[in-house]
Amino acid sequence: MTAAQARFDEAQGALIASGVWHAEAASALPNLAGKAVRILDGTGVTQLDTNGAWLLLAAARPQASDPMPELRAFQPQHLAILQLVAQHCRTTAAQAAPRREGVFELTGRGTLAMWGHLVGLLDFIGRLFIELVLLLPRPGSWRWREFAVQVSTVFVGAIPIVAGMLFLLGVVFAYLLGDQARQYGANIFVVDGLLMAILREISPVIVAVLVAGRTGAAITAQIGTMKVTEEIDAITTLGLSPLAVLVIPRVVALVLALPLLVFIGDIAGLAGGMLVAKEQLDISYSMFMDRLADVILLKTLLVGLGKAPVFAIFIALIACRMGLSVTRDARSVGAHTTSTVVQSLVAIIILNAIFAVTFVKLEI
């Protein structure tokens, strides 16, 4: 095995190559700028593959319009490869670099894409509603099994993370609140603040965010992968509706599961607060519970629990729609899953703001 070598013979106009000509041989080519190669000489070439052949031919004939050089002293099998490559060498005109888009163009495109998302979501809600109305009088055709599987993954599987998160948030919140309250000797009012914050805001929003990240992403990835493997098409050709089979069980499961998870979050958050109240503020567990019973209003609990199904509908709709709009490649699954989480989070924050303003106006 001798390394590839090539030199240019000015007198003959010949490029003389020798050694092993593979893809790695590119560096052995001399600078041929402005020189016309009339002869390609392969006297010393011991090995040649198509990559090596292309390199030699491309060096001798940089433009397709240049004449084909005379091939000299190549071994017969190398000659065959050179001819095969020469036949299939086609000059594809250099692709123009993609035009860079300006700020206005990007903004315009982004706005149009957002508008498209919104219209698509409305269309999807409409179709889903029709499907639901058609299904309602026929409980026999409900996908109970799929529904049960979804409840178990969405609800049961999420309990540890929801309880753990809210417990820690309860600890942090009670600690900060307690620090302030103690300065005024108002230790016991920590319970009031904690109750209000956890039940009304923290638990619904945090649980919805967790579910959007955990379940929403999973739904999009699963449905998206089913789209890639043509399972959705198979469902359609079997005379079934993908909306009834896949989407409705997930939406209903999420609408049921999210309030339950919020309730678990409420309890975990208060438990975390109770622990801190005892350690930091000397409020015993029984004092905490007494105060809790005094100040708790059913309204406070229901406001938090009532927000949950609304969040759930939006998370499930966004996740299912993004899953169904996956195109047939792997990157699309990733992009749509990301989009699901982002859209869900934005929806949760906006909905929560709307709720807050509405409740204040209605004096709830």
């Binding site: 593979h22 893809a23 790695e24 590119a26 560096s27 593959d49 198509t50 990559n51 090596g52 292309w54 390199l55 491309a58 099998q77 065959a80 490869i81 095969l84 490559v85 299939h88 060498c89 086609r90 594809t92 692709q95 195109t327 047939r328 490649d329 792997a330 990157r331």
Partner: protein
């Protein structure tokens, strides 16, 4: 040629409690176009995965170019991998890359060539595989099944391997595309001096482009030879296999 390109010695495989191969032996010489056939579940694909280093057999020794597949260091194995190309059954193209970048990927990774040169070489490989020039900038999802196979073949050829593995190269193709693909493989094998090892169910492939057939049955090699030689082996599965063809009038092209 002293040493075989592929050498499988006493390979035994057990998957999920089922014995797939016991003491299986086969070898392939340089420049041969060899087909592996056998009924469903006889472990053809498993054997292929073992030879290309994706699945470790329980016992035995597999050598490519005289170098052991399963006793090599990762560096040696990577060197070995550049000497063979694999065409997977469904193409296994990278769906997020264009056709051209799919073929150029091995060149990007394993050579020091500038990317522009890699892409030009990729276009040469696409042309060799019989794809039109406008396919280069498309995504795999925009191509038909036959074209995807051709792209996959172009990618398998990117580094100019000496050995080509094909897993059911003509499955899912219409008869005309399948024959064209067969002809292409034979043409490339002859003009580039490739050794080709393919797993197939396609009788037409066997009759048209294959030098030697290896039959897998009950965990070992039942026989090997040209199609004509195999017909003398007394085996119910083989008899039925060739009967399917004989009934429609034999047209042996041979080589």
């Amino acid at each position: 040629m002293a040493e075989p390109v592929i050498d499988v010695r006493d390979v035994s495989t057990t998957l999920g409690g089922h014995s797939i191969h016991h003491n299986l032996n086969l070898s392939v010489e340089r420049g041969e176009v060899v087909a592996l056939i056998g009924g469903s579940g006889t472990g053809k694909s498993v054997l292929l995965r073992e030879i290309i280093g994706l699945l470790k057999p329980q016992a035995g020794r597999i050598e490519l170019f005289g170098q052991s597949v399963w006793d090599s260091t990762p560096e040696q194995m990577n060197g070995l991998r550049q000497r063979f190309g694999v065409l997977f059954q469904d193409g296994a193209l990278f769906s997020s890359l264009t056709v051209e970048d799919n073929v150029a990927t091995p060149l990007f990774e394993h050579t020091d060539l500038p990317h522009a040169t890699c892409r030009q070489l990729a276009r040469l490989k696409l042309a060799l595989a019989g794809l039109p020039a406008d396919a280069a900038k498309k995504r795999p999802s925009e191509l038909s099944g036959g074209m995807r196979k051709r792209v996959a073949l172009a990618r398998a050829l990117a580094l100019d391997p000496e050995l080509l593995f094909l897993d059911e190269p003509t499955s899912g193709l219409d008869p005309i595309s399948a024959r064209a693909f067969d002809t292409l493989i034979r043409l490339l094998a002859d003009s580039l001096g490739l050794t080709v090892f393919l797993v197939t169910h396609d009788l037409d492939t066997l009759f048209s482009i294959i030098d030697r057939v290896i039959v897998l049955s009950n965990g070992h090699v039942l026989g090997s030879g040209t199609v004509a030689e195999l017909k003398h082996i007394d085996d119910p599965w083989l008899a039925e296999y060739f009967a399917a063809r004989a009934s429609e009038g034999e047209t042996v092209h041979g080589n």
